[in-house]
C-alpha cells in the first residue's frame, strides 16, 4: 500500500467513524465533539486532494467557528427533557422517518449524479492549475464568474437566516422580547 493510499484510508476511516459516533453517542456534547472531528477529517481529506485553501477554510469556518458555537450552545442547555421529547411521540416518529427518507434520497441522488464522474475530465478544476496561491486565484475566479449565481444565492440565504434569527429572538417568547 502506498503512503497516499494509507493516508486516504486512514482519514476516511477516521472521518466516517467520527461521523458514526455523532449519531451513536447518547451525550450530545460527545456528538458535537465527534462532528468537529469529522470536520477536521474532511479538511485533511481536502489536503490529500491538493485543495489546500478549501481545507484551511473548512478548518477555520466549520471546525473552528460553527462547531465551537454548537458545542457552546449545547453545553448551556439541560438536554434531558429535550431528549425525552425527541424519543417519544407521533410527531418525532414522523420526523425520524422523514429524515431517514431524506438521507436515503440524498445518498441515492449523490450516487446517481456521480456515476461516470470519475472518468469525465474537468477543465476548470482549480487544483489542476498549481499549488498554493494559483489554486486559490483560480478558485476565486470561477467562483465569481461561472458560479456567481450559486455564490450570491448562498449569501442571500445567510442574510435571510441572520434576519430570521434576530426576528425570532425579538418576537413573543424570545430571548430579546420587546
Amino acid at each position: 500500500m502506498t503512503a497516499d493510499a494509507f493516508l486516504f484510508w486512514f482519514l476516511a476511516i477516521v472521518t466516517l467513524g467520527s461521523g458514526l459516533m455523532v449519531i451513536l453517542q447518547k451525550n450530545p456534547i460527545y456528538s458535537a465533539l465527534s462532528l468537529a472531528m469529522t470536520m477536521v477529517g474532511m479538511a485533511a481529506l481536502f489536503v490529500t486532494l491538493n485543495a489546500f485553501f478549501i481545507a484551511g477554510v473548512q478548518l477555520i469556518v466549520y471546525a473552528g467557528a460553527v462547531m465551537v458555537l454548537f458545542t457552546m450552545v449545547i453545553m448551556l442547555f439541560d438536554l434531558k427533557q429535550d431528549i425525552q421529547a425527541f424519543t417519544r411521540g407521533k410527531l418525532s416518529g414522523i420526523l425520524k422517518i422523514a429524515s431517514v427518507g431524506l438521507l436515503a434520497g440524498l445518498v441515492v441522488g449523490a450516487i446517481a449524479m456521480s456515476v461516470g464522474l470519475l472518468t469525465e475530465k474537468t477543465t476548470d478544476n482549480p487544483v489542476l492549475v498549481g499549488n498554493g496561491m494559483e489554486t486559490t486565484k483560480a478558485l476565486g475566479q470561477i467562483l465569481y464568474t461561472k458560479y456567481i449565481f450559486g455564490f450570491e444565492a448562498l449569501g442571500v440565504l445567510l442574510l435571510v437566516i441572520a434576519v430570521g434569527a434576530v426576528a425570532l429572538s425579538r418576537s413573543k417568547g424570545g430571548t430579546h422580547e420587546r
Binding site: I29, L33, A36, V40, A43, F52, F53, A55, G56, V57, Q58, L59, I60, A63, G64, A65, V68, L69, T71, M72, M75, L76, N131, G132, M133, T135, T136
Partner: protein
C-alpha cells in the same frame, strides 16, 4: 509535499519537526521566568531570585514540582474529556508553530559521508512549508477553542464551564477581526505564503503608485508602513486569541477562581500553560512576518547578506549556513521583542469587563478591519492604474 528524496533528507526533516516542537516547549519555562522577573521589574519588586543565578533554576524547581504533584480528578468530572483536554491543548500550537519560516532556506551542496555522495539539498528552517501558509495556521489555531470547551465541560465544575464558555465566545469573536485584519496584507503581497511575504519586505521602502516609483530610503520596506491599521487590529486580536490580559476573562480570578483550568493541577495545568504560550509564540512570529519583515534584516536584502558571507568564507556550504544563521538570529530578535510586548502589556493594562470585550470585538475592531480591507483594495486598484 513529502519528506524528502533519500534517507538523509528524510531524517533531517523528521529531526527538524522534533527540534521545533522541543524549541516551543523549552521556550515556555524561559518565558515564565521572563514573565515573573519582568512583572517584578514593572511592579518594582525583585521576583524569583533565590534559586540559582538570577533565579534561573526556579524553572527546574517548578518543573519538578509540576511532575511530582498528586494526580487528581474531581468526582464530578468526565474522565475522558478531563484527560484529553490538556493533551489537545498542545496540538494546535505545535502544529501551527512548525509552519512559521524562521530563516532563509539552508542550501547544502554535494558532500561525501559513509562512502556515499549525498545532496544537493535545500532545507527549510521551518517544520513544513504549506502553500497556503497563513490559512493553514489560522485554521489549526482556531481549533484551540475545543480544548477550552473540553476542559470546561470535562471538569464538571460551574466555574470551569463559565470560563470555557467565555473563552470560546471570545476566541470566535476575535477570530473574525483577526482574519479580516490580515486580508489587507494578503492582498498587498498577493500571496498566502509566509516566505514570499518576507521576501517582498526586503530592502528600503519603495512601491509603485500609478506608474511612479515612490521610495523612502530612511525606512525599511516593512508591512507596518503599508498596513498600520491592520497591524494594530491584528496585534490586539492576537491578545484575545491567546486569552491573555487584557482579554483574560476566561480566568477572571475574582469571579471564576481560575476559569477553565480551575480543576487542573500539576503537569496537566502546565500543558494548558504551554498551549497558551504556544499561541503567544505563533502571534509573535506572525506579527514579525506580516508587519516587520520576518527574518529579513532592515534595509538589507538577503542577496547582500549572501555577498558578504561569500567574502568571509570561500566554502559555499559554510557561507549558506552563515546566511541562514544570521537570519535566524534576526528573526529571533523580532520574535522575542514581540513576546516581551505580550508580557509587558499583561502587567500594564487592567482586565476588560465582558460587555466591553464584546463591544470592542464586534463594534470596533470588526468594522475597522472591514474598512481596512476595502480601502486597501481601492488603493491597490488605484496603484495599478
Amino acid at each position: 509535499m513529502g519528506m524528502g528524496k533519500d534517507s538523509f533528507e528524510i531524517i533531517v526533516n523528521g529531526l527538524k519537526l522534533v527540534v521545533i516542537f522541543l524549541m516551543m516547549v523549552q521556550l515556555v519555562p524561559i518565558l515564565v521566568w521572563v514573565e515573573r522577573r519582568g512583572s517584578a521589574f514593572i511592579q518594582n519588586r525583585l521576583g524569583p531570585n533565590r534559586v540559582g543565578p538570577l533565579g534561573l533554576m526556579q524553572l527546574l524547581a517548578d518543573a519538578v514540582k509540576f511532575l511530582t504533584k498528586e494526580a487528581f480528578v474531581p468526582s464530578t468530572a468526565k474522565p475522558l474529556l478531563y484527560y484529553a483536554a490538556p493533551v489537545f491543548a498542545l496540538i494546535p500550537g505545535a502544529v501551527a508553530f512548525s509552519a512559521i519560516p524562521m530563516s532563509t532556506p539552508l542550501t547544502v551542496g554535494t558532500f561525501e559521508l559513509f562512502g556515499q555522495t549525498w545532496g544537493p539539498y535545500t532545507f527549510l528552517v521551518q517544520g513544513y512549508d504549506i502553500g497556503v501558509g497563513i490559512v493553514f495556521i489560522l485554521g489549526v489555531s482556531s481549533l484551540a477553542a475545543y480544548t477550552l470547551l473540553m476542559a470546561g465541560f470535562g471538569s464538571g465544575n460551574k466555574y470551569s464551564l463559565m470560563g470555557a464558555l467565555r473563552a470560546s465566545a471570545q476566541t470566535i469573536s476575535y477570530e473574525l477581526a483577526l482574519g479580516l485584519s490580515i486580508v489587507g496584507v494578503i492582498m498587498m503581497y498577493g500571496t498566502f505564503h509566509l516566505g514570499d511575504m518576507t521576501a517582498a519586505q526586503q530592502g528600503t521602502l519603495h512601491f509603485q503608485f500609478m506608474g511612479y516609483t515612490v521610495a523612502a530610503n530612511w525606512l525599511p520596506n516593512w508591512g507596518i508602513f503599508f498596513q498600520p491599521l491592520g497591524a494594530l487590529i491584528f496585534f490586539a486580536a492576537t491578545f484575545a486569541e491567546s486569552n491573555r490580559l487584557p482579554f483574560d476573562l476566561a480566568e477572571g480570578e475574582s469571579e471564576l477562581v481560575a476559569g477553565f483550568h480551575t480543576e487542573y493541577g500539576g503537569f496537566k495545568f502546565n500543558m494548558f500553560f504551554i498551549g497558551e504560550y504556544g499561541h503567544m509564540m505563533i502571534s509573535a512570529g506572525l506579527m514579525s512576518i506580516f508587519f516587520f519583515g520576518g527574518y529579513g534584516i532592515p534595509f538589507v536584502s538577503v542577496d547582500q547578506v549572501h555577498q558578504w558571507a561569500s567574502t568571509v568564507t570561500a566554502n559555499a556550504n559554510w557561507a549558506n549556513a552563515l546566511v541562514s544563521l544570521i537570519h535566524f538570529l534576526v528573526f529571533n530578535v523580532k520574535f522575542f521583542f514581540f513576546l516581551w510586548v505580550f508580557i509587558w502589556v499583561r502587567w500594564t493594562l487592567p482586565r476588560f469587563r465582558y460587555d466591553q470585550l464584546m463591544d470592542l470585538g464586534w463594534k470596533t475592531m470588526l468594522p475597522w478591519a472591514l474598512a481596512n480591507t476595502i480601502i486597501t483594495a481601492f488603493v491597490i486598484y488605484l496603484a495599478s492604474l
